[in-house]
Structure formats: structure tokens, C-alpha cells
Subunit: 342 residues, 2 copies
């Protein structure tokens, strides 16, 4: 394979020569070390900028065994929640002069592992990712190696790491409580995969609300799905076909809400008169439907920013213990449950 070779950029050597100092001094000037004479520093920086010099990050990374790149791994780039998190992460990282290396795994453990190993080989300073139970052991290995990491959105038991999640249980609770408050007592839920912590927690919230209201759980109303559109579509159809269909459905993520809406439309079920609906997550399209969809909103941006900040802190000082942040959720009431006709 013939590789193209780029015309070489300006190096530290040339800057040193032009400024009549050693490369060490140039390096120090750029690192902002205070052991270098302020005047000299100005001079060096001036020469460097006039030469259009930009330190080679690859060389720096090799020598110093650190880099300004962090790895980011998300399960789904088409999920508003994750792109929101990416934005939050990126804004913090950018401000700190870090770059991110982004991959998405489609929640496929093999792909994820692959990516993780590549990221490590790339010498990233740390990683932010959404853990998958199947790779638990690999995470531990990376952790033992001292790779700084922060997990977002999910947690897996037995893996002690800095984590930023969402108040999922609270969200599930609020959604269900809201429906109960409107008089619904046949409330179904379409859950995510139960090996994922946030899916379990959202379900827990639902259960707690029902229990507090003294409403017995109907197993059939708890439809297990996988956070994807198609299974939610199917689950909705099943619910509709039941002899005693629910009067309300709580769909536990954005993409599945699409599937449920699709099924409802297909069967011409009116919202909210024939079916009330609460979603989870709040992409822009939720409010332009008629009626707008009532949702549990979680601050993906802030979650991402928080995760990035945690990671940056981890890069600076050796870790002691691990921290867990939980972002609050919020119920955005629109017309899909019959309160407001919008």
C-alpha cells in the first residue's frame, strides 16, 4: 500500500534555530512553564507564530505518554440523547483544548471492544462511554491499566467507575404518576432491555408509582422491548390487540416512541382520547405533533458536559474512589395525555 507523504510541516527544531535557542526552550515556552524567562518566551512564541508553527501532537503524545485526545463511544448516533451528550462533552473538551475521537458501537459488544482497543492504541488520554455488560471484564482490564474513564447513561454492577447518569427512576415515577393523576389505571409501559440499568430504573419508577397508588401490576402491560423502533411498534400492536387494552402507554425512550406512534397511526388510534402517551427524552419533533407528546426530559447536554469535566479532573489528579452524578429529569406536559389540548 503506497502511502501518501505530506510535505512536512514546521518542526520545533526550525523554530529553535530561527529563535536562536534550544528546542528545549521552545518546548518549555509552549508548555507555559514558568522556569523560562518571560521575555525569551515572548520572543520564542513570536518566532513560532510567524513561522506558523504548530506542535506535532503525535510526537508529543509518544514522548510524554499523554495526549489531548479523548475517546468517546456511544451506542447510537441517531439517538437524540447521545448526540446531545456529544455536544455537551465536546464543548467542555474544546474549551480545554482537547479533541475527541468518536465511535459508535450500535450497542454491539464486539464492535465496542474493538473500538476501545483502537482508542487505547491511539493513545487517548481517557475515554467516555456507555458501558455494556458483555465487556465488563475488558473494562476492568483497561481500568487496571490506569486508563482514565467516565461512564455515561448506564452503570453495570461490579464496575466501580465515575459515572454520570439520569434520574431514571424518578422519571419513570413522574411519568406514571402523571398518568395516574389523570385517572388512568390501565397504564402500560414499553421498557428497554433489562440488562441495561436505565431501562430497569425506568421500570422501577413505573412500578413504584403503581404500587403507591394501590394499583396491581398487570404483567402483560409490561412490554419488554429493546430501545429500538421496531420492537416498540410490535409491542404497541400487542397492547392494542389485548382484550383489555391499556388507556395509556409510557414509552421509555425516544426511538421507541417513534415506533409506538407509528403503530398508533397505523391503527388510527387517537391521542389522547383513545390512548394517552408519555415519552422519554425530548427531541424537537415531540412538540410539533398534534397533540404534542408529554415527555420526561433529561438534560443530555449537561450530562455530557459533566462527564467531560469529570474526566478532565481525572486526568489532572490521580483518582481516589469514584463519583456518581445523577442528573435530574423533568416532566414536560403537552397534550398527549389529555390535560392540555394543544
Amino acid at each position: 500500500m503506497v502511502m501518501q507523504r505530506r510535505s512536512s510541516a514546521i518542526t520545533i527544531k526550525e523554530v529553535a534555530a530561527a529563535a536562536k535557542v534550544s528546542t528545549a526552550t521552545v518546548s518549555r515556552a509552549f508548555a507555559g512553564m514558568d522556569c523560562v524567562n518571560p521575555q525569551l518566551r515572548q520572543h520564542v512564541l513570536g518566532v513560532a507564530s510567524s513561522l506558523n508553527y504548530q506542535p506535532n501532537r503525535v510526537a508529543r503524545s509518544l514522548r510524554s505518554r499523554t495526549s489531548n485526545t479523548i475517546g468517546l463511544l456511544i451506542p447510537d448516533i441517531d439517538n437524540h440523547f447521545f448526540t446531545g451528550a456529544v455536544r455537551g462533552i465536546e464543548s467542555v473538551l474544546n474549551a480545554a483544548d482537547y479533541t475527541m475521537l468518536l465511535g459508535h458501537s450500535n450497542d454491539d459488544p464486539k464492535r465496542e471492544r474493538n473500538y476501545l482497543s483502537t482508542l487505547r492504541a491511539e493513545g487517548v488520554a481517557g475515554i467516555i462511554f456507555c458501558p455494556n455488560k458483555a465487556n465488563h471484564n475488558y473494562y476492568l482490564e483497561l481500568q487496571r491499566d490506569g486508563l482514565p474513564m467516565v461512564c455515561i447513561a448506564r452503570e453495570i454492577s461490579g464496575f466501580e467507575v465515575d459515572t454520570v447518569t439520569v434520574a431514571n427512576k424518578q422519571g419513570g415515577y413522574m411519568a406514571t404518576k402523571h398518568l395516574l393523576g389523570l385517572g388512568h389505571n390501565r397504564i402500560a409501559i414499553i421498557t428497554g432491555p433489562q440488562e441495561v440499568s436505565n431501562a430497569r430504573e425506568r421500570l422501577e419508577g413505573y412500578r413504584q408509582a403503581l404500587q403507591e397508588a394501590g394499583i396491581p401490576e398487570i404483567p402483560f402491560y409490561i412490554q419488554q422491548a429493546d430501545y429500538r423502533q421496531q420492537q416498540a411498534h410490535l409491542a404497541t400492536l400487542k397492547l392494542l390487540d389485548h382484550p383489555a387494552p391499556p388507556t395509556a402507554i409510557f414509552v421509555t425512550n425516544e426511538v421507541m416512541t417513534l415506533g409506538t406512534l407509528e403503530a398508533l397511526k397505523e391503527r388510527q388510534v387517537k391521542i389522547p382520547s383513545e390512548m394517552a402517551l408519555v415519552g422519554f427524552d425530548d427531541p424537537a419533533w415531540m412538540k410539533i405533533l398534534s397533540p404534542g407528546i408529554t415527555v420526561v426530559k433529561h438534560p443530555s447536554n449537561r450530562l455530557g458536559a459533566q462527564a467531560a469535566e469529570l474526566l478532565l479532573q481525572n486526568l489532572k489528579k490521580p483518582k481516589t474512589g469514584f463519583r456518581q452524578f445523577v442528573m435530574e429529569t423533568e416532566l414536560i406536559i403537552r397534550g398527549s395525555c389529555g390535560v392540555i389540548s394543544s
Copy 2:
């Protein structure tokens, strides 16, 4: 700033020692060079894998002046079109053992330039991006430096580079023609920023369709916007407030369609009876509205894949001239123009 130092991973030296060969042989075995004895290669690879060796990409990149990372810069990560392209790019890149470094610029030239310069300092093998007129000179500089690149979605005049775009004019033409065919003759368009080629082309398609139909252009019906939600919202309101409002609106991207729908909902304008609508780009939510939105669909996935393939080719052989690919668009007819009641 105290940087954390990772416990060093296995290096080529240790593999060489364990396999009782030189580092060069290990390197060659990994590079798949056929000058190495097949048996020896097997042996080396075996030892390496038993040691859990993974070549350090940073060192490789520094030494060989090439890398397996490519940079990707998009204007908006919340735009379905770009995330689709990212997926397409990533799948091709992954298969070729490349990683991508993703940034998004918010279409801010300064941020874009910043990113570009970081990517270069990171030693990426090439870049895929969506060019912005304001950075024209910088692109030329990068090109002169020999950095392989491919542009997607837009083109800027005077910048000769491999490009993959969409048949925007055709799309605009089809959309307008479709509306004309249904008897509409007061058709408005909400355009993107005219300094962006695809926005100009979509408008051209609209114009051509009107012209062919012998319908004179009404300047007020051509609302200039910026591809963002808010301006589309405003533009829609303006159109509605006009003494002779249009009977149909062609909104030229996904995000603006959201803005238009929002405005229409706010004013309680019925689709399609009081206003017909055609959008551009086809995220999942377009079809779950009632009625579903008729759109011009463009294959963002394939566009991305094509771009990635072009780039990979550029990495292999020195370039001669430049190539331009144009992906076909397709009209997806739903109920928003009054043909099908869905």
C-alpha cells in the same frame, strides 16, 4: 498540570524478545509484508497475541508519517443528514481499519478552522468535511500541503477537490413539480443560506419547475432562511400573514421543516387542506405525523460511504485531478400535499 501516566503496554521489543527475532521482523509480520517467512510470521503473530500485543498507533504514526485515523468535520450533529453520513463514513472506515476523529463546527468558520488545524496536528491521514466559503484559503493551504481530503454536501467555487453531493436541483425540481401537478400555483420556498451551494441548487430546481410551468416567480414567496429552525418558523409566519398566502410551502431541509410545522401548528393551519408541505430529508419522524410529510429523500448513508471510499482511494494512490459524485434524490410521497390521505 500533573498528567497521569499509564502502566505501559506491551511493546514491539518485548514481542521480539519473546519470539527471538528482531523488532523489524515483528513489524513486518504485522504489516503483512510478504518478504517474511510464513512460518516465522505465524510464530511471531502467535507470540504477539499471547502477549496481548497491540501496536502503538502513535509511534507508528510518528515514524511512518501516516496514520489510520481520518478527520471528519460536520456542521451539525443534530441534523439527521449528517449523522446519516457519519454512519456511512464510519462503516467504510471501520472495515478498512481506520478510525475517525469527529468534530462539529456549528458551521462557525472559526471553530471549523480550529478543528481543521487540530486534526492536522493530530496527524490524520485525511479529512472529510463540509466546506465553508469563509475558510476557502485555508483549505487551499491544506491542499497545497498535500493533505488528502474529500468534501461532502457542499461545494465552493474555486476549490477543486473530490466531492460527494446530492442532486439538489433535481430534488428541488421534483418537489415543486409535484406540487404543481396537484394544482398548486402559489408555491413558496424557504431556502437555506445562499452562500451554501446546496441551498442555491434547491432554489434553482424550484425556479426551473415554476418556469417550465409558466408560473411567474413571486419574490415574496422565496423566503431566505438559514437552515435553522427559528428562521424557518419566522419565515412561515410571514408567509401566512401575507395578503395572498401560498397554498404550498417547500421547506429545504429537515431542521427548518420543524420550524415550519411549529408555526403551522401555532396558527392552527391544517395540512394539507390549508397548506401543502414538502420537506427535504427523511428522518423517522416525518412519517409518523398525520398526515405524513412528503419529502425529498437523499441517501446520506451512501453519500458518506462514497466519500469515505474516495478518501481511502486518495490515500492509496497519488491524486490526478478531482472527482465529483452526485447522489440521486427521491421524492417520498405521503399525505402532506393532499394526494394520499394517510
